[in-house]
């Protein structure tokens, strides 16, 4: 099997090794290089590993390239060919195979090995990269406790997740998974004087919500003495326990976690007869590994105290020999002697201060002689009257009869840490230290929002709002004069469409034209903002950004029956002017907010998290974890772009190419989202997402909502190249670091493009959640995003509001505030607006008021493509797909203005296919008659992924498969065909005609006048009257019409006339 370069480039990062430098000048090596190595590299490697985009990120055409390394792991270790991944690749070891077009011959391989052995010299330039910006492939590989050779020494393996009990059930028997049948039980192992009571099974235990066995001061479990663990005499052994203990006061004053052998007092200086893991509360919580009642290997006073109440991974290994000197104790993967008086779990993940300062273990130097008892095997907790009880949860217990070496131990620990979501320092230590260049730190978007005073201008008369000062200042600098104010009719149509997505009614036009008070305009703005149609218009903008739909896309395209609740939540949030910070927090983490007195509010907050649910889902993906990670990616992409204007998802496979976002940031966020569960059964294929009833209070029916559930928290490892099978360092859950350090940075620092001038300030690894946080961290993330100190959140939203009033944002790329996005055209104005936004308690309606009342907004349109690029209402804004449909219904008189409810979801369910599963594949076609007959506003139409109705798909509605920050506006013939021939437009034209013909007393000119007032908010001109009469006459005289019966004939003529109005540019464009 030939392996492709792209899949096989699971090579290669090269870190500078001392050996490499030491041999730099070796002339023999240089000779070898020039005669053999360089030609070999040129011939066999350069095809892929050169240039700006080398495969796997590895360049093999220069020393710098070699030193800088590739994307994965260590490429070569100077002097050590056998440890170099480059050699493994050319030797086709460890699943690597290079070059892809055929293996090197043995001589070539030997030469390459020789060159590396000599230090991999590369004559010529000697520039050495200062930092390795890519995470090395960790040498730690999560390994099952019984994997391969390990199975031979595995003596006991208790897994809480192997228990098939109900939550709270007593654990009478905890089966041993080692294959030796050493089940521990509350009865069987306890024969004489036993007091063991069954422990309790807890499905979501204090071990980060994973299954656990809960012990209290009366419970104990033991194995039968008939099957003693094969650890005797001065034996080597390893004990690993995943647990979370609570302090308590029961006697005797020590916690007996696990014991093997005879704990009897052998007499001083007797031999230790057992291996006991215990915490002596009487001596201030020292952690002992004891051979009996002797405290043979102890971490000393207080050593366990910090670990109470925390999930930990405790490992003890012992070689043959005196207990004190052969025992090693590890907590969360690191030697506990280096942290005897502090909690490893509390250490910042970046504290890598050289060699740890090891304390020797306290105790005696007795050589153990482990002997088994006749009444009991291994024992946990209070299995016998004299045993020490424990209180707390135990998730997993492993006993080996060998001392695992570091690699074996770390691999098994890694498996347990992954499984339990535990903090595991050795994996985090391999994460690259995050450093930023000054350029990155000084990038405008990451600077705090500055509240600038509006500038003074020459033409004070023009100013209606402080906004105008910023705009006019720029115009005056550019020598541009403001345009005239638009007329009242134009302004009303503009405002009504912009704020409600509907045309003004003839009555509204008349009322505004008749109101000559100075407040007339402001009154209209307020009336429109108070209209329920405001939310229906502005929610649509948000739904575009958060890729709202009611089906899953992909294989099944299953109907999401209750997605509409989220849609209505968004509409309601805009209408009630829910503060934007609350709006964000509720969508990200409404379910985690503490419940308040209002049932309605609590329910609303759960519905809001539909935000996390409405994205595309691959239900048929065979690799379920991959499917989950893709959903996480979607959530990160949407959250980044919608809320922060950052393209964070770019950092899934590599550090962001352009922005200061690292893979560590991505996986810090991914951990948060991965700790939230959208599916009812995350391992089953074609599984159902969460839909559950929420109580509405006494006497009311509960309602069903679609929302995720916070699940067991976990930290993710970096997926090299986004591949979940090549795992790098583990990253604690957290936020985007570049935004974390604002306080520490002054914008006045000089920019520099020198990549070597990285800032090594220690705060850069901040913004990671403490390892003790036992929830997903979603709420913390939401609060961090919705903070006024976040430099992006307010800016991004005021920019969106601006964009939808002016056609283009102050930052033109409204979902990308990164370096590849546009710079703000008016940075001070952007910050001033962001400041007002926060100051107004994040009121979106306040922003509309500010903008709509400005002279800037009230200018006439920029009719020609002049050089004036100052903000103006967009020229010839075409109605959006929804506005177009809604306007036709409004004008025809058929628009049902009542808010939509569950119609879309129920319709989709009624049409869906029953495949005998909980999921219901969508079976609605794009031209289903429902789309023609439904008469509520377009936002309430069903949104089926990959099957949008024509009116939406043709007129550039957002594709709900991804984030749409700004819609395209295209003009194609298929739109015209739709306007001419679709049932929707023809039906509405007919209804419009019937409306005109309803009052039989009206004359044709009156009808034409009425038609214009309805469609355009103005009367017909004389010319239009003439045209219309001529048209109607010609139509009625056409041979095919002459014979039609009345009133059908009249109606057909008027229908055709009305359709020409609905198709006209004056109708299709706002102005």
């Amino acid at each position: 099997m030939i392996l492709r370069p792209i899949t096989m480039l699971v090579l290669i990062a090269l870190v500078m090794s001392p050996d490499l430098r030491a041999h730099e000048k070796s002339s023999e090596a240089e000779k070898l290089f020039e005669s053999k190595i360089r030609p070999l590299l040129v011939e066999r490697c350069h095809k892929c590993h050169t240039g700006d985009k080398p495969k796997g990120g590895l360049r093999l055409d220069s020393r710098e390239g070699l030193l800088k390394g590739g994307e994965t792991g260590l490429a070569i270790v100077g002097g050590k060919p056998d440890e170099s991944r480059l050699m493994k690749a050319v030797r086709h070891q460890d699943g690597l195979a290079m070059p892809p077009d055929g293996k090197l011959n043995e001589a070539q391989i030997a030469t390459l090995a020789e060159w590396i052995k000599l230090g991999a010299a590369w004559p010529g330039t000697t520039i050495i990269a200062k930092t390795a910006a890519v995470p090395p492939l960790s040498s730690i590989v999560a390994t099952l406790p019984n994997d391969g050779e390990l199975a031979k020494s595995l003596q006991l393996w208790l897994r809480a997740d192997s228990l098939t009990l109900d939550d709270g059930d007593p654990v009478h028997v905890w089966p041993d998974q080692s294959g030796h049948g050493r089940d521990v039980s509350a009865t069987k192992g306890v024969r004489v004087g036993g007091v063991g009571m069954p422990a309790k099974f807890v499905r979501a235990s204090a071990l980060l919500k994973r299954p656990g066995v809960r012990f209290d001061t009366t419970t104990g479990l033991a194995s039968s003495p008939d099957r003693p663990i094969d650890i005797r005499g001065d034996a080597a052994l390893t004990i690993i326990v995943v647990m979370n203990l609570q302090p308590h006061e029961a006697q005797p004053p020590y916690d007996g976690v696990i014991g093997i052998g005879n704990p009897a007092w052998p007499g001083d200086p007797g031999k230790p007869l057992a291996a006991l893991l215990q915490i002596n509360r009487g001596e201030d919580h020292a952690l002992h590994f004891a051979g009996g009642w002797n405290h043979d290997a102890s971490l000393g006073n207080g050593s366990f105290k910090p670990y109470y109440g925390k999930p930990i991974l405790l490992t003890i290994t012992k070689q043959p020999g005196p207990m004190r000197t052969t025992t090693r104790i590890f907590v969360n993967g690191i030697d506990a002697r280096s942290h005897a008086r502090q909690s490893v779990g509390d250490l910042a993940p970046d504290s890598r201060s050289g060699e740890p300062d090891y304390q020797p273990l306290a105790g005696r130097d007795g050589v153990p002689d482990i002997q088994h008892r006749t009444d009991i095997g291994a024992y946990l907790g209070k299995a016998l009257s004299w045993a020490g009880s424990i209180q707390g949860d135990v998730g997993e217990v492993l006993v080996y009869n060998q001392a695992l070496n570091d690699a074996q131990r770390l691999n098994v620990e890694c498996h347990l840490a992954d499984k339990f979501g535990l903090f595991f320092k050795p994996l985090q230590d391999t994460a690259p230290r995050t450093v930023f260049t000054m350029d990155e730190k000084n990038f405008w978007a990451y600077q705090p929002v500055k509240d600038v005073a509006p500038p003074s201008v020459k033409n004070e008369n023009w100013i209606k709002s402080p906004i105008d000062r910023f705009v006019l200042q720029q115009m005056e600098a550019d020598g541009i004069t403001p345009a005239a104010q638009a007329d009242k009719r134009t302004l009303l149509r503009r405002l009504t469409f912009d704020l409600t997505g509907l045309p003004p009614t003839p009555d509204e036009v008349a009322a505004f034209l008749d109101d000559n008070s100075p407040q007339a305009y402001e009154k209209v703005v307020n009336r429109l903002l108070d209209s329920p149609h405001y939310g229906e218009r502005w929610a649509r903008h948000w739904l575009d950004v958060v890729r709202y739909a009611e089906s899953t896309a992909n294989d099944a395209n299953a109907v999401m029956r209750f997605a509409w609740r989220y849609r209505n939540y968004v509409i309601d949030a805009f209408n009630r002017d829910l503060p934007y910070d609350q709006f964000l927090i509720e969508q990200l983490a409404g379910d985690l907010l503490p419940p308040i007195d209002s049932v309605e509010t609590n329910t609303r907050r759960i519905i809001a998290t539909g935000y996390l649910m409405v994205g595309p889902k691959a239900l048929a993906e065979t690799d379920k974890e991959q499917s989950r990670l893709d959903i996480v990616d979607d959530q990160i992409d949407v959250t980044g772009r919608a809320m922060l204007g950052l393209t964070i998802a770019c950092a899934r496979c590599h550090d962001h190419k352009f922005d200061a976002i690292r893979t560590t940031d991505y996986y810090a966020l991914a951990g948060i989202f991965r700790s939230t569960e959208p599916f009812q059964n995350e391992v089953r294929n074609a599984t159902m997402w969460w839909e559950f009833p929420v109580s509405q209070g006494a006497g009311k029916e509960p309602i069903t909502v679609m929302a995720p559930k916070d699940s067991a928290p976990r930290n993710l490892r970096i997926h090299l190249r986004g591949n979940r099978f090549t795992l790098g360092a583990s990253v604690p859950r957290g936020f985007v670091q570049i935004l974390a350090n604002r306080a520490a940075l002054g914008p006045e620092r000089p920019a520099s493009s020198d990549l070597t001038s990285v800032d090594q300030s220690p705060e850069v690894d901040a913004h990671r959640l403490a390892n003790t946080v036992t929830t997903s961290g979603r709420l913390e993330l939401a609060q961090w995003i919705a903070s006024k100190d976040n430099p992006l959140t307010a800016r991004v939203m005021v920019n969106r509001i601006w964009q939808h009033h002016f056609g283009q944002g102050l930052v033109a790329t409204s979902d990308n505030f990164g370096t590849r996005g546009e710079r703000p055209s008016h940075p001070e104005l952007l910050d001033w607006l962001a400041s007002r936004f926060v100051e107004s308690a994040w009121s979106m309606k306040s922003m509309h008021r500010l903008i709509c009342l400005s002279a800037t907004y009230q200018q006439i349109e920029n009719g020609s493509a002049a050089s004036d690029s100052s903000p103006r209402h967009p020229t010839r804004r075409r109605l959006s797909a929804e506005e177009l449909r809604d306007s036709m219904l409004a004008v025809s008189g058929k628009l049902d203005r009542t808010p939509g409810s569950n119609e879309s979801g129920e319709f989709l369910v009624s049409k869906a296919e029953n495949i005998g599963a909980m999921i219901l594949p969508n079976r609605v076609a794009a031209d289903d008659p429902f789309y023609t007959t439904f008469s509520k506003r377009s936002i309430y139409l069903p949104v089926v992924r990959n099957m949008l109705p024509d009116v939406l798909a043709l007129f550039d509605a957002a594709d709900p498969n991804g984030v749409t920050a700004q819609r395209n506006e295209t003009t194609v013939a298929s739109q015209s065909l739709f306007l001419l021939n679709s049932p929707l437009v023809r039906d509405q034209s007919r209804a419009f005609a019937e409306r005109l013909l309803a009052d039989q007393s009206h004359s044709p000119p009156q009808r034409i006048e009425q038609a214009h007032r309805l469609a355009f908010g103005r009367g017909a001109t004389v010319e239009e009257q003439v045209q219309a009469s001529e048209f109607l006459a010609a139509y009625l005289q056409t041979p095919s019409v002459l014979n039609r019966p009345e009133p059908e004939r009249q109606l057909a003529a008027w229908q055709s006339y009305c359709q020409s109005l609905l198709c006209s540019n004056e109708f299709l464009y706002v102005e």
Partner: protein
């Protein structure tokens, strides 16, 4: 009058976002390509380099055609029938499979090239000297239909990306402004649905236009909204009124290219109403031609109509036609009853496809028409149940013909069981890069700026397979 934009400028502009471009006049009064300004989304554009193919017919076989029963003969399967695969199966299987299953079909050498084809496809076999069979396709991890369909049609099984046809239109425009430039015949409503011919973040102008869908017989398919709602004379009256209104409106407002474009679009759609039915009308073909394809005969009628339709559309200047044999009515997904499923399906398509190639050739169109026979994945050499095969993206066969492709050759190999690719693996990005290359487009240069980066059909991968070029 502004000078027309050069292609380079055009691409630069499009890179800035399309709203901008849509403001420009879109449609010329004359539908002939040479009279169109170069600055409209659908008007023809120069390729990056000399194009070997000017148009594409993508014959898409939905459900997964078994490679070891069609174009990739594996005698070892018969020899080891019922025995286990002697090496490890992939990490993820769609469903567990059992032991090796011999092909129920015989293979035979065809043409001067002597390439083996099973007796499922005797007529395609007879065209083999015009065909290049790629036996080393690899569909990555996409084991289920939806993602796999999206993968072959859009280059990504996971993310929403523009389709191959949309990229082609974006790169080259189209020759006939009275017809859509990218048409998908009978696409499935499922497994990605419209996303398979959609434009995703590219402007909607580049999305495929659907005629019919996989759920209804193509015989009854219509181009939506093409049938005039009123009699043509009445509609002409109406359009004249509309044009007068719009022109008066335009005069009031002055220079407004998008309003002019809208006026032109109505005129064009009127012409499309007239021209498209003619192109769609298969009865204009001679009885002999219809018989050649198998129109009017069963079981070939439906796919014959589609293939004949495709030829008529391509002839009329349509750039990209996808001819779908698709779910739920026509479907190669032989989890069980392989023999019956593949026999039935092959009988429906073999003659129409051979006729399509023959017809193109006799009209001199095959030289610059790229014909692609593709499927979303192959089927497992190991049995599913007793007589079925499961999804198999790890290795499968597709073929190309015409449009600069060397006929009578095979490219790539699978192992002796047809399980994995053994030589010259062709990934989906390689496949797409090669198609674009034949169309004169450099897959690394055909980019579109979206969400802060330049997107390509081939993402960051893809190598052109130059060995298969004539």
């Amino acid at each position: 009058m502004k000078a027309p934009l050069s292609r380079r400028e055009w691409l630069q502009r499009s890179a800035c976002g399309f709203g901008h471009l849509a403001l420009l006049s879109l449609l010329a009064k004359d539908a002939r390509a040479d009279s169109l300004p170069p600055n409209t989304p659908l008007s023809p554009r120069d390729p990056h380099h000399l194009a070997r193919a000017k148009r594409v017919a993508f014959l898409f076989m939905h459900g997964g055609v078994s490679h070891v029963d069609s174009f990739d003969h594996k005698p070892k399967l018969a020899e080891h029938n019922g025995r286990p695969l002697p090496f490890a199966k992939p990490k993820f299987e769609f469903a567990p499979t059992g032991n090796l299953l011999a092909s129920p079909w015989q293979f035979q050498k065809y043409g001067e090239s002597g390439i083996e084809v099973s007796n499922l496809f005797p007529q395609i076999g007879s065209c083999i000297d015009d065909i290049c069979v790629i036996r080393s396709m690899n569909g990555g991890d996409q084991v289920s239909h939806g993602p796999a369909l999206l993968n072959i049609n859009t280059g990504s099984g996971v993310f929403a990306r523009p389709s191959l046809g949309a990229w082609t239109l974006y790169g080259l425009g189209t020759g006939n402004q009275n017809l859509p430039g990218f048409i998908s015949l009978s696409p499935s409503l499922y497994h990605g649905g419209a996303q398979n011919y959609g434009s995703a973040f590219l402007p909607a102008s580049f999305q495929g236009t659907r005629i019919g869908d996989g759920s209804t017989n193509y015989k009854d398919a219509k181009l939506s909204n093409l049938t005039p709602g009123d009699d043509p004379a009445l509609q002409r009256l109406q359009l004249d009124l509309l044009a007068r209104r719009n022109r008066a409106h335009l005069e009031r407002l002055g220079d407004a290219p998008q309003l002019e474009a809208r006026i032109a679009a109505f005129e064009m759609s009127y012409r499309m109403q007239a021209q498209a039915p003619q192109v769609m009308d298969l009865s204009r073909e001679s009885a002999a031609t219809q018989a050649l394809y198998g129109v009017g005969a069963e079981p070939t009628d439906e796919y014959a109509r589609q293939c004949l339709q495709a030829r008529r559309l391509l002839e009329a200047g349509v750039r990209f036609v996808q001819v779908n044999f698709s779910y739920p009515r026509n479907y190669w997904d032989a989890h069980g009853d392989l023999r019956n499923n593949h026999t039935t399906n092959a009988k429906k398509v073999d003659q129409p496809i051979a006729a399509f190639l023959t017809d193109l050739k006799s009209r001199g169109m095959l030289d610059d028409t790229l014909v692609i026979f593709g499927t979303e994945f192959g089927r497992t050499p190991a049995a599913q149940g007793t007589d079925g095969r499961d999804h198999h993206p790890h290795a499968f066969s597709v073929w190309l013909a015409g449009g600069g492709v060397r006929g009578g050759m095979t490219y790539g190999q699978t192992d002796e069981y047809g399980y994995y690719v053994a030589e010259n693996k062709v990934t989906m990005p390689d496949f797409h890069a090669t198609i674009l290359h034949l169309l004169g487009l450099d897959h690394e240069r055909l980019t579109y700026r979206h969400a802060g980066r330049d997107y390509r059909l081939t993402d960051v991968e893809g190598e052109v397979i130059s060995q298969i070029m004539a």
